[in-house]
Amino acid sequence: MTSPLQEDLESRFKDVEVRALEQNRVSVLVPSGSIPLILRYLKDNGRDHLALISCVDWIEQGEFEVVYVLTSYMPNDTEHGPGQRLHVLLKTRIPREDPQLKSAIAVFDNAEPYERELHELYGVNFEGHPRLIPLFLEREYEIPPFRKDFDMRKYVEETFGSIPSVDG
């Protein structure tokens, strides 16, 4: 089963791997360099809502998988059943050692906090982001805390366990 979106993307961009996950959910795996172009294309073609940017740490393969969840504000009746929105999961793989990615702020303004979050929790560097400063965290972490090789138990024991009690 090929959807119109799949034919469209495969004819326009190269190395695009489209997979239908469920009835109204499509996963698109693209090379990391073409992320801004494809985001722009999807935004101009109805996927005008960036719901989330997420990240998965595939430590055995030495890669991060950054996931952009795109959907539309208004349901599009022509593509699917009435009232259904098509969710596009735009995925890309970047190396774990030097995670660089072009910022999506030029396309979606609301990518700003999501990219800051990924920067502080995974250490992904977004080129062109105006202020990559911490969003939630207060302390400096040697390894960003959401990476799989961050030893949380050891960190907690060393940091919070070393605080002495106050007597009296």
Binding site: L137, E138, P145, Y155, T159, F160, I163, P164, V166, D167
Partner: protein, 180 residues
């Protein structure tokens, strides 16, 4: 007024007045704050116990920490606590301020609140029912009667140790010491 308490009133009127007018700082932390609106409104009506929420720390004397404390919240908690006038009472509400609760392994949540500010009493549970707040308040009355709710005295006495712990976990603190 309870006739049995007349001697107490005559002996130390300030303490009794203080005890029956606990003003809770409306400070929201974590999920426990969801229990506080029914406690202070008509369903359970905390005013029966003399507990009222107030808007600013400078008007309050009861500080309830109602959930997990992240480092950013700890900074706000210390600032709020130091602004409250003496005598002030702190109550940890829920299991997270006691020992971290389900956030024991979290990288950004403190585990023992009493290492950073003095705590007079705990209400255990996840979540405690609103009734537990009133049990906590009546226990706090007993502690005030016996002079054991002395967190603010201990804070003054051991301020150096508390401040050292706060600086250990938060790094640089951008306000001067309360008791230099």
């Amino acid at each position: 007024m309870d006739r049995n308490q007349i001697t107490k009133w005559l002996k130390s009127p300030a303490k009794m007045a203080n005890k029956y007018s606990l003003h809770a700082v409306y400070f929201c932390t974590g999920c426990g704050i969801i229990e506080i609106p029914p406690v202070i409104t008509s369903r359970w009506d905390a005013e029966r116990f003399g507990v009222l929420p107030v808007a600013t720390p400078r008007q309050g004397n009861l500080f309830m920490i109602t959930g997990y404390v992240s480092l950013k919240t700890l900074r706000a908690i210390i600032r709020t606590y130091e602004q409250m006038p003496d005598p002030k009472y702190t109550v940890g509400f829920g299991s997270c301020p006691i020992n971290g609760g389900m956030y024991w392994d979290s990288y950004n949540t403190i585990k023992h609140l009493d290492k950073y500010i003095p705590v007079d009493g705990w209400i255990a549970g996840c979540m405690p029912r609103p009734e537990a707040v009133f049990i906590g308040v009546t226990h706090l009355w007993t502690l005030i009667d016996k002079g054991k709710a002395d967190g603010y005295v201990r804070y003054k006495k051991n301020y150096a140790a508390y401040r050292r712990n706060q600086e250990l976990i938060l790094g640089k603190i951008d306000w001067p010491p309360l008791y230099p």
